[in-house]
Structure formats: C-alpha cells, structure tokens
C-alpha cells in the first residue's frame, strides 16, 4: 500500500509542478524587469520594433507583448489579466476599458489608419475606385460590420450610397487579406497598413472616400501597471519622434 501511496503523491505532484512552471516566466536574472504591453494585432510589427528600441534605451527592461484583437484584449483585462500598457485599434474598445475602470490615466491618440482596396498583383480586374467593387463578376471580401474594419467599410458605403455585395464578411482584417493574397477573392477592403505590409503580394488602390472612416489608435497606462514610470516611458516612446517614425514607415498616419 505504501508503494501505491508514494506513487499517487508523485502523480499528483506532476500537474502541480507543471502548472507552477507555467507561471514563473516573469522573474528573470539580476534586476531585469518586464513591461507587459497589450496591443492590437495590427500593431504587431511596429510595436515589436518600438519594444526593441525601448529595450535598447532601458537595458534592464524587457518588453513582453500580447497581440490580439482589441476586444479580446479588453475582455482579458476585464477578467483580471495584468499588464502595464494597453494600445487599442479603435477608440470604442479603449472607452470600454475606461468604463471598466482599467485605466490609470487618460488615453492618448498616437496613430490613425484608413481603408484601402487590395487586389491581385497588377490589378488584373482594373479596380480603380470604391464603386468599382460592385462590378459584375468581381468577388469582393470585406470585414464583418461587427469588427472595426467592417464598421469603417460600412461607413464608407453609407457615405457613398453604395451597397457592396461581398462573398464573405470576415471577422478579422488579416482574413480579408489572406483571401486576396491566396487568389480566392478578386478584391478586398483592408487598412492601409495591411496593404503596405503585404508588399508585392497585392496591388493597392486608394480611394478618397476613405477619409470618412478614420480609425484612431489610443494608448493608455493601466491601473494594474507594476511600474507606472516605465509604462509612461513606453507611451512617451510611442508618441515621441522615434515611435512615430516607425509607425509612419508602416503606413500609419498621425492621429
């Protein structure tokens, strides 16, 4: 019996140790400290670069990112996730965070993004304007109205009195882009930054009506911040010259 008991203790210890191992990622060597940044998925590339800059400027800091859809991030924060900084892809989700009492300071707008049409390289179907998306036989993919890029597309449609007939309403802008780069769809409506990020895999068509639906990106320090000074420093870097340069190279406009 004692042999069994020892074995059972060992069996029970396994999951406990595994769980403990998962949780102890944060405390590193010496005095290295970690800044946790929750940022919208569309900021993945630019914020990774800005994070590297922050680590160069502050050698004893490491920046850890959690990139996801803005509404997912707000949900995670509301459910008790701890982070220092939150950067949202729209003001709506930042407002949600503010209402939930998650913010330590007022949010600052640091960038903006507008819509753009992407097509196959060389634009074989000759899409020249937003209204061209209604050409017969053209398969068009947009974001669903429930997500920010889709509500922006809807705004443009309303302003232009055009109703698109998309073959699919995707739940994320990356899915729209993927449908165009894979050749499944002829054209898609995405953000300028996504179009630029896709490089020569797509042709881009700008349209002036995009200005009716400008998406503003706010950033704010969180109440759960472990080190308020570091959080402020990171925000200053994003809104400052170095951060703005990285953002504008990726296609973001000033807020």
């Amino acid at each position: 019996m004692t042999r069994f008991r020892r074995l059972s203790v060992a069996l029970l210890a396994v999951p406990v140790l595994v769980l403990a191992g998962c949780g102890s990622g944060g405390s590193g060597s010496d005095q290295e400290k970690t800044l946790n940044v929750f940022a919208a998925a569309s900021l993945n590339k630019t914020f990774t670069d800005i994070g590297k800059q922050f680590e160069t400027d502050n050698p004893n800091w490491k920046v850890k990112f959690n990139f996801a859809g803005s509404s997912d991030l707000v949900t995670q924060l509301t459910q008790g996730a701890k982070a220092d900084v939150f950067a949202s892809a729209d003001t709506k989700n930042m407002d949600k965070a503010a209402h939930g009492g998650l913010l330590a300071g007022d949010p600052v707008n640091f960038a903006s993004n507008t819509l753009l049409i992407v097509t196959a390289p060389g634009n074989p179907r000759g899409v020249a304007s937003f209204a061209d998306l209604n050409k017969p036989g053209l398969t068009v993919v947009v974001c669903a109205p429930q997500v920010p890029c889709g509500s922006a597309t809807e705004k443009v449609e309303k302003a232009m009195h055009v109703t698109l007939n998309p073959v699919s309403e995707e739940s994320s802008v990356t899915d729209v882009l993927a449908k165009v780069t894979s050749g499944q769809a002829d054209a898609g409506v995405v953000y300028v930054t996504d179009g630029i990020g896709a490089g020569d895999k797509v042709a881009t068509v700008e349209f002036p009506e995009a200005s009716v639906a400008v998406n503003t990106y706010p950033i704010a320090e969180l109440k759960s911040a472990a080190d308020a000074d570091a959080a402020k420093k990171f925000i200053a870097l994003v809104t400052g010259e170095a951060g703005q340069k990285i953002l504008s190279q990726a296609g973001f406009a000033k807020p």
């Binding site: 069994f4 059972s8 069996l11 398969t139 993919v141 309403e169 739940s171 899915d175 050749g183 769809a185």
Partner: protein, 266 residues
C-alpha cells in the same frame, strides 16, 4: 450496479481531477448565461440562420463521410497490401492536424488558384465562398473519425463470416450488403455520430477555406466567434445551445453505440 473490482483506490484521485477539469468549464459557461434573455438571444434571425446552415451542412458532410468512409474503412481493415499500409496514416492525418491547417491545405487544392481548383474554375465550377466549401471543409476534418471508428469495428468483427458466406457461393457484392454491413452497424452508428458532431463544431477549416457570410457559409461556430466581438451574452447563449445540440446527438444516438462499437475503434 457492478462494483469495479481490482482498481486501486488512489486511481480515483487523478480520474476525478480529470473529470472536474472537463466538466467545470461547461458548468461555468452555463452559469454565465443570461437566462431571462436566453430565448430571444438564440432565436434572433442571424442565430437561426446559422443554426439551420450548421444542420444542413453537417448532415450533408455526414452523408459524404458515410458514402466515402465506409468503403475506405473496409479496404483499410481487409487489405494488407503495402500501398494501403502507407496510405493509412496519410488518411488519418487530419485527426491530429489543426483545422486551420486543413483549411489552408484545402485552399491550395480546391481554391480558385489551387491544384485542382484552377481546372474546376475554368470549367465554371466555383467552390470558394459557397456552402459546398463548408461541406468540403467539414468532410475533410470528419472523415477520419468515421474511418477510424469503423475500421476498428471491422477488425474486431473479423472476416470469418464474410469468408464463410463466400464459400457458400455468395457474390462479393451480396456479402458486402448482407454480411459485412450488418455486422458493422454499431461501429457505423458511432462513427456517424462522431462525424456529425465533429462537423457541427467545425470552425478553423471553414473560416480559412469557405469564408463567412450569413446564410451561405457562416455556420454556428463562426456566428459565435463573430458575436463575441459585439455581444458576449449572445455568444455565450449560442455556445450553450451548441453544447446542448452536441450533447443530444452524443447521448441520444451515440452513448450506447459509442461504447459498443466505438470501443474497438479507439
């Protein structure tokens, strides 16, 4: 009730922890449901459309799974040639593949620019963004479930009766209909239930391959994923509905046959 003899008592500790781990999230989600509004949440137009589409596509893909999967399972169980032995793991691979990967693979096979899709497109057959794409995606992920359940049942049943029937003069086709299939009925039932349930829950491959449009390709899991962006209450209510439907399918049709026929398969 028969007492389970021979099991050491300590084994119940990890078993109970495992069971709680599986059941607790479902209980927590059910507790989170906004019950007073539950009915109106699940009977909204978009929910009903998604539910109907899910039932139709899952039924269609289950039929496809049976039509293709039963012969596949029998060939795998009865033919021991090297080609078959090498093909087997390839056919069962989607079992362990993330569905998103399955969707990407389908895209490069049946998409507009895909290996086969480009010829279909030239012939005027377009699969992308249609309900057929949903059925293809569901069949791709569900077929191995049916095949593996049925193959196990066929191996357990053995080929003895078939051999006897053949020596008594029955032709292969009538052996197939009158001997092989009736023997496999329990395995077929459990495989069908598994395939249907898997189709009902299919998300990744559908999202990647078929897109998302109300009434055409937006099945219940895709509707849940989208609702979550704006209305958590609706997403939770629909999730509970999906769990309930799956539970009815598994318990109503399957639990007995899952035990009887599926045991050999797993």
């Amino acid at each position: 009730m028969t007492r389970t003899s021979g099991l050491p008592r300590w084994i119940y500790v990890p078993a109970v922890i495992g069971a709680v781990f599986m059941i607790l999230p479902l209980v927590a989600m059910t507790a989170k449901v906004d019950w007073p509004d539950f009915w109106s949440l699940i009977t909204s137009d978009s929910s009903l459309t998604a539910l109907e589409l899910s039932f139709k596509t899952s039924s269609a893909s289950t039929v496809l799974c049976i039509v293709l999967g039963v012969p596949m399972a029998l060939v795998l169980a009865r033919n021991d040639s090297r080609v078959i032995r090498w093909t087997r793991p390839l056919i069962l691979l989607p079992l362990v593949l993330p569905p998103v990967v399955g969707g990407i693979a389908l895209l490069y096979a049946f998409g507009r620019l895909g290996l086969l899709g480009r010829y279909l497109d030239a012939a005027g057959i377009q699969i992308a963004f249609t309900t057929s794409a949903v059925v293809l995606a569901q069949t791709f992920v569900s077929l191995p479930f049916l095949v593996i359940a049925l193959e196990g049942a066929a191996r357990t049943a053995g080929a003895d009766y078939e051999v006897v029937a053949a020596t008594l003069g029955a032709r292969p086709t009538s052996v197939w209909w009158r001997v092989s299939l009736p023997l496999l009925a329990p395995g077929l039932a459990s495989g069908t239930v598994l395939a249907f349930a898997r189709s009902l829950g299919e998300f990744g491959a559908t999202l990647t391959f078929a897109g998302s449009r109300e009434g055409v390709t937006r099945t219940l899991p895709l509707e849940i994923y989208l609702q979550r962006e704006v209305d958590t209450d609706a997403a939770v209510a629909l999730s509970v509905l999906l769990v309930a439907v799956a539970a009815v399918v598994v318990f109503g049709l399957g639990s007995r046959t899952l035990k009887a026929g599926g045991a050999g398969g797993w």
